[in-house]
């Protein structure tokens, strides 16, 4: 290994990542394949005293694994975590036009080997821009029900290829602390390319499909996932136009992988040429349509985002309104929104009380070996019991009910 002198002015045919003194927890890597001489590596890093050796070792390992033999490589690092550093190197190598020798993945997180239950809770989903790996490592701390690594609107067209590798590595390796691992892919062919990159490496629980207007778009994705050998990844189509909303019912029913249906209000109101207001009367019909289409197909109805993250009072009101018309979840654009959203979707005291009574009756029937649950003189249907169990579980998670409530009363 030769440590070269500064080549900041040098043009690298392949480069990826943000560059500059302000970069935190990310890095820029430039790669130039050469004809001979092995690897010439130059590293500058804010974590040089701590991980300088580890960075060099990782980059050299990666260069070899990715199929390079001779190259000049420059790393300008602001403390990128290994999964991000690996992604930047891979994207830079790909951008040289050099064909990739083989897969080079970070260590898999156990959650990336799981799939998620169809009816799991999806109250909050935290959007994370796909090319901002610095936001990933602590995203799970704020306990969202799901994290969405976004490859669509938050990634510039020129960075789609690089972000795809970052997101792939993150879904594979990052601990999102039990949050459902979601990705929003691009529209059309670009989105299918996203899936070809992501799916073989696991870690994707759910795919959000943007701007769906035709059920065929959902079926195309469904088929591709099956072709890629996956049977478990769930889908959540996003309706973002008049055409999409009018086709809601068909879209909801288009695939057995669909678990939820949601709406994107920014694009929807733009499509209608109207202003998006806080009161939201302009989108009430569309949102109700989404709720109905979802329910009719047995899916969860999930609301759009609340875009002023500093306004917690407005957010809470917006969540309560969403809940009142049938939504079960809300998008979050900032971690501090998550607790507020969960608060808004927490069951009312009276709901909890009723659910507790039903669960007690259900347990009593179980204990006595009775198949029929009754409360007083009323028979309780199995779907009602199921719903009561879910309400009780939610109340426990929201801190409204002690974990051992059944023993304490």
């Amino acid at each position: 290994m030769i440590e070269a002198d500064s080549k900041t002015a040098h043009e690298y045919p392949g480069a990826a990542g943000p560059r500059g003194r302000e970069v935190r927890s990310d890095c820029w890597i430039g790669v130039e394949p050469t004809a001979s001489g092995g690897f010439e590596l130059e590293v500058s890093s804010t974590v040089e005293p701590y991980y300088g050796l580890a960075i060099r070792e990782l980059v050299l390992e990666g260069a070899a694994k990715l199929g390079l033999e001779h190259a000049r490589i420059r790393v300008e690092d602001g403390g990128a975590y290994p999964f991000a550093l690996m992604a930047r190197l891979e994207a830079a190598v790909k951008r040289t036009g050099h064909s990739i020798g083989g897969a080079w993945m970070p260590e898999q997180h156990p959650d990336a080997r799981t799939s998620s239950a169809r009816d799991r809770r999806r109250r909050s989903r935290l959007y994370l821009p796909g090319d901002q790996p610095k936001l990933f490592v602590n995203a799970g701390l704020h306990r969202p029900d799901g994290v969405i690594l976004d490859l669509e609107d938050s990634v510039a067209p020129s960075d789609k290829d690089a972000a795809r590798v970052v997101v792939r590595n993150a879904l594979h390796a990052v601990d999102f602390m039990g949050a459902e691992r979601m990705v929003r892919i691009n529209q059309g062919e670009l989105g299918l390319e996203d899936l070809r990159e992501l799916v073989p490496h696991g870690g994707v629980h759910l795919v959000l499909l943007p701007k769906v207007e035709d059920p065929e778009e959902v079926r195309t994705v469904d088929r591709l996932l099956s072709e890629l050998g996956d049977e478990q990844i769930a889908l959540m189509p996003i309706l973002e136009s008049a055409r999409g909303v009018l086709a809601a019912q068909a879209i909801a029913a288009a695939s057995g992988r669909n678990v939820a249906l949601t709406i994107g209000l920014e694009d929807y109101t733009a499509d209608l040429g109207i202003a998006k207001t806080d009161a939201g009367s302009e989108s009430l019909w569309a949102r109700s349509m989404v709720v109905h289409a979802a329910r009719a197909a047995g899916l969860q109805a999930i609301d759009s985002v609340y875009s002023d993250f500093a306004d917690e009072v407005g957010l809470l009101a917006s969540v309560r309104e969403a809940k009142s018309i049938g939504f079960e979840g809300k998008g979050c654009i900032h971690p501090r929104q998550i607790a507020v959203v969960h608060d808004g979707f927490a069951p009312e005291a009276i709901e909890v009380e009723k659910a507790c009574r039903i669960v007690r009756a259900f347990r009593a029937a179980e204990a006595e070996g009775r198949g029929v649950v009754s409360l007083g003189t009323k028979m309780i249907d199995p779907p009602v019991v199921k719903r009561a169990l879910a309400t009780v579980a939610l109340a426990i998670d929201c801190g409204q009910l002690a974990r051992d409530w059944e023993e304490t009363e």
Binding site: R24, S25, T46, V47, P49, Y50, Y51, G52, L53, A54, L58, G78, G79, A80, Y81, P82, K134, V137, N138, L141, H142, D175, H334, P335, R336, G399
Partner: protein, 520 residues
């Protein structure tokens, strides 16, 4: 001058020098184990015969005052940091000393800030021999690279008082920047165009230094009231254009964090204080500067309102949020050691319950008690913490001196000491096997609150028991360290340091708890 000090292992297992700048160094023996005897230092007896009977002690310039104080090579000059990064006086003192041809002066600041970068030039030119006080930014770099001639000595605020009082550091000339003063030398910090709050850091110097100069930009007719500094201790008064920029006392560390992760740490810390039962009617707390500590105060206030309790007193660093608590009746008193913003300055002037304190009352370990140990919960920061709960505030893992100790060590004697820190920062681990520099022994650190949960020191089974049933996530510190290493990519390399000791870290009793070596 070479520094090849003989070393001895102290009670926290660190090898520390037995000689510090020609003085005997005592290795740390354990908390409360070192009991020096003897009498306190006494300044020379003075006579009114040598001071103007009119009480007018004014001289034309700082340079003249230094000259008349008999500034000589090798003397010690004390300055103080009540203007934090807005101090204008310390640099002027050494510019004047340079003009007078002084050399090898020991600078003894209560703290240094980035505004003191010009001192590097004075060290290069030989005016300053070395610094005993906190070393920030460029000064820390300079010392860490072994360029300073003597050994840096870092002391806490209480430790600085202790060192002066015990005669470990004899201050030849103290220069006190005063926002308001009279010609007799009475001075206060709570009013005037450069009001900064209080002058407590200068109090020891005013009592024990051979000579005392008061520098002010707001000379008022005698008497200057209140007199935080008594003119009877003052030799000369100098009028200047400006002593400091009060807006800059709000320097970086006094803005509430917006980071969701830091807010989470602050929230966990407040919930810990609540759920462990510390938050009850009549409790007391102190939270330092720093965005996380400020956010902690905001969360705690909400919880106090929710629980309907009030504090019996709160210790400052005062700021806008503590002042709100005082003015809204959530505490009757702020016992303030340092004002962190202009609301604090105003309140000190206007509110009878906002009491200015000094390192003597709050922190001095060689006194008959101090306030710090009366506090129920103290929230502090750190650059590193290890599996033994030892903590570091002066260096980072690369071994460079970056921060002063401030009141941090003194606050560790609170009934519950809580370090509120991220477990790593931009791939730099904070939780480690072993801290780079021990500033505080683990036996005094009760709780470490990070974004990944709360680690309670096993020496505090009472707190572990008290937290049973709380929904604040608890995590063993070993598990936390493993998690940090999993994210950051293994344990960090150890800093490559030379043998040369560039700084001694003093414990509150004047013993040496650790030392810092030259970095390459």
């Amino acid at each position: 001058m070479t520094i090849t000090a003989e070393l001895a292992r102290n009670a926290v297992g660190r090898d520390v020098p037995l000689e510090i700048n020609g003085r005997e160094g005592v290795p740390f023996r354990g908390v409360g184990q070192y009991r020096p005897d003897g009498a306190k230092h006494g300044p020379p007896i003075r006579s009114c015969a040598d001071y103007p009977a009119s009480g007018d002690k004014r001289v034309a310039s700082l340079r003249e005052a230094l000259e008349r104080c008999g500034l000589r090579d090798g003397m010690t000059i004390g300055t103080h940091h009540h203007f934090r990064n807005g101090d204008l006086v310390a640099n002027e003192v050494f510019d004047a000393a340079a003009q007078l041809g002084a050399r090898d002066v020991r600078w003894f600041p209560s703290a240094s800030f980035p505004c003191h970068e010009p001192m590097v030039g004075h060290m290069e030119s030989g005016v300053i021999h070395h610094i005993e006080g906190s070393l920030n930014g460029p000064l820390g770099d300079y010392a860490s690279r072994g360029k300073m001639r003597g050994m840096a000595v870092l002391r806490s605020h209480g430790g600085r008082w202790q060192a002066i009082q015990d005669g470990e550091v004899k201050v030849d000339i103290a220069v006190i920047a005063a926002p308001t003063a009279d010609c007799f030398g009475n001075a206060t910090g709570d009013r005037g165009p450069s009001a900064c709050g209080l002058l407590g850091f200068a109090l020891a110097d005013s009592m024990y230094a051979d000579h005392v100069i008061v520098v002010t930009d707001n000379l008022v007719p005698f008497p200057c009231l209140p007199w935080q500094i008594q003119g009877n201790n003052v030799d000369f008064v100098v009028e200047v254009e400006r002593v400091g920029v009060p807006e800059k006392i709000v320097s970086g560390t006094t803005v509430v964090t917006k980071s969701p992760d830091r807010l989470l740490i602050a929230e966990y810390a407040a919930r810990f204080v609540r759920d462990s039962g510390i938050l009850r009617d009549g409790f007391s707390f102190q939270s330092g500067a720093g965005g996380t500590s400020l956010a902690f105060g905001i969360y705690l206030k909400e919880m106090m309102l929710e629980a309907g309790v009030t504090a019996s007193f709160v210790r400052g660093g005062s700021n806008q949020y503590l002042v709100e608590m005082l003015e809204e009746g959530l505490t009757p008193y702020i016992l303030d050691g340092q004002t962190f913003d202009l609301d604090g300055v105003r309140s000190m002037r206007e509110n009878a319950g906002h009491q200015n304190t000094s390192p003597f009352t709050s922190y001095n370990y060689h006194g008959k008690g101090n306030f710090a140990s009366l506090v129920d919960a103290c929230i502090l920061g750190a650059t590193e913490v290890d599996l033994d709960f030892n903590a570091n505030v002066v260096t980072h893992t690369d071994g460079r001196l970056l921060h002063g100790i401030g009141g941090w060590q003194n606050c560790l004697t609170a009934k519950c000491t809580i370090l509120a820190v991220p477990s790593f920062r931009n791939r730099i681990p904070v939780v480690l096997d072993r801290v780079t520099t021990v500033c505080g022994p683990g036996e005094l650190v009760d709780v470490v609150v990070t974004e990944r949960g709360v680690s309670i020191n096993p020496r505090r089974p009472d707190l572990i028991e008290a937290m049973r049933g709380s929904d604040v996530p608890l995590i063993e510190i070993q598990d936390l360290k493993r998690e940090v290493e999993r994210i950051c990519g293994g344990p960090p390399q150890r800093a490559a340091t030379g043998d040369r000791v560039v700084a001694a870290i003093q414990w509150v009793d004047g013993t040496t708890i650790d030392c810092v070596r030259q970095v390459s």
